[in-house]
Symmetry: C2
Subunit: 339 residues, 2 copies
Amino acid sequence: MRQVVMYKPGDVRVEQRPDPTIVEPADAIIRLAATCICGSDLWPYRGAEPVDHQVMGHEYVGVVEAVGSEVRTVKVGDFVVGSFWASDNTCEICRAGYQAYCVHRVLMGTIGTQAELARVPLADGTLVATPGRPDPELIPSLMAASDVLGTGWFAAVAAEAGPGKTVAVVGDGAVGLLGVLAARQLGAERIIAFSRHADRQALAREFGATDIVTERGDAGVERIKELTGGLGAHSVIEAVGTQEAMMQAIHSARPGGHVGFVGVSHDVAIPGDVLFMSGVHLHGGPAPVRRFLPELIRLIWDRTIDPGKVFDLTLPLDRAAEGYQAMDQRAATKVLLTL
Amino acid sequence: MRQVVMYKPGDVRVEQRPDPTIVEPADAIIRLAATCICGSDLWPYRGAEPVDHQVMGHEYVGVVEAVGSEVRTVKVGDFVVGSFWASDNTCEICRAGYQAYCVHRVLMGTIGTQAELARVPLADGTLVATPGRPDPELIPSLMAASDVLGTGWFAAVAAEAGPGKTVAVVGDGAVGLLGVLAARQLGAERIIAFSRHADRQALAREFGATDIVTERGDAGVERIKELTGGLGAHSVIEAVGTQEAMMQAIHSARPGGHVGFVGVSHDVAIPGDVLFMSGVHLHGGPAPVRRFLPELIRLIWDRTIDPGKVFDLTLPLDRAAEGYQAMDQRAATKVLLTL
């Protein structure tokens, strides 16, 4: 099969690799309908994380091609969506809704789903079948559910977005934009998106943003305070992962407010005294996407939400390198790879 | 009147100062029945915070001696308990339960309640009257409610201690010990106290601790993991304020668990990647004691709880310097000053 491999920073290739096979009785093999490039894939691409001939990709939708002897909840021919963490969905941590920390978790990025086929461990706990074969126009949205929508959703839940709340969103990448969509679905009254890019501002508004703030850092915080009677937002989503974004998020929230952070932290250190005096709730990390998948699939299936709009560039898998380049250069927000 | 003044680190004196008077129409003047020395008073005492002829003390119970023209909810002669933040209890932040961040808040430490009399701003929003004149043996417990119990209680609430939960408590000072008491009152199933001191271990057990762990740091975390099937505690209270304590707290919690931190942070920096990967909820800061005061007073009045037991040294106000010395040298956990 063909599979994307990052040789070193900036060097992405599509290679022939052996087809995956069932290794454990809980495994499934899926044939991908689509895959995509994640903002977090840019960290190694830019040399901010080590990389050496690494298979890439952790987002996936597709059709089950084979199952191990223990698999019960999905069958050959099902169209499935899964999370970037494989999870048993039965351990105490999974049952508490934290499948990204399942005691048996397997990171799909180590398997690499930017490929024609992928082995999915713990298939019963990881994969959720759609009600039937999806119409082709639903594929991008189902693809988004695998990570970027599930992550934005988790951020909005962690930020306790809901009715009567003002939600600020730091980061106008795909996750931030889908955080806007999630906050709207969760009933937020006012959604303020930080964004300087006209196209992303437009999508943020389409997803439900009521206000756009172009300032960043302290000036951005000041704008949020102005828009919230001096108090700050009830809920803030942090979807970047830098020190500036984290501090902007903490300072944008009111005392007793909630910051949901899902940007993969790089060189972030939160000063204890600042957090202490802020009085905010802070919660985040790798999203337990599996918790939300049944609901997200339903919303997509019913055409209630259209998160697939975050994909602004679609390329065949063979041209993955172009996709990485486009996201690195910010020519694209999020790249869908077709098979 | 007599009032405690810290001239410089290690130098605490009791001086004659003018009696306070009503300044704002929302003020009350109280005659203190007791006051006490806070763990946070040790930071300037030890030179870890700047101090220069500072009036001291922010905990207080006493009898209302005078009220301003706007005061409605307390009257002359009432026995009252108040928080270390004066708050209006009507602003949007107060109504959300975050009175320590009231938009009109006044820090009682700037007024200094280690004194015979104290001016309490925003009396209606700050003071809670007891059902009547308390029996003398209730005074220490009511005193505790003013800060140290309210703070431990907030930590337990922030850590979401409750039925079915395993709660770990980092810090065996007065706040940590009362965090144990709070966790028990909130219905926690198992309460693990970190402590190396026999007397504090005994009080922790009396307040409801089911297990004592003497190890600290990584070894302490390992013990918590052993005691919780490898998962970590559901809830962790951090009541110290150091880097080691904060990291011990974060690592002692399971993914999706809750850390409530109330130790005043000193030189703490939380690595973003560690917090990200931990999956914990983090919430803390100065406790909104006012939120809990009516309930705490009721529990004390009904003799359901006896938080006054944390006072292991009682001295007259004139001997405040001895009290500071005893707490600094860990000869006492918490010092009550009588008037």
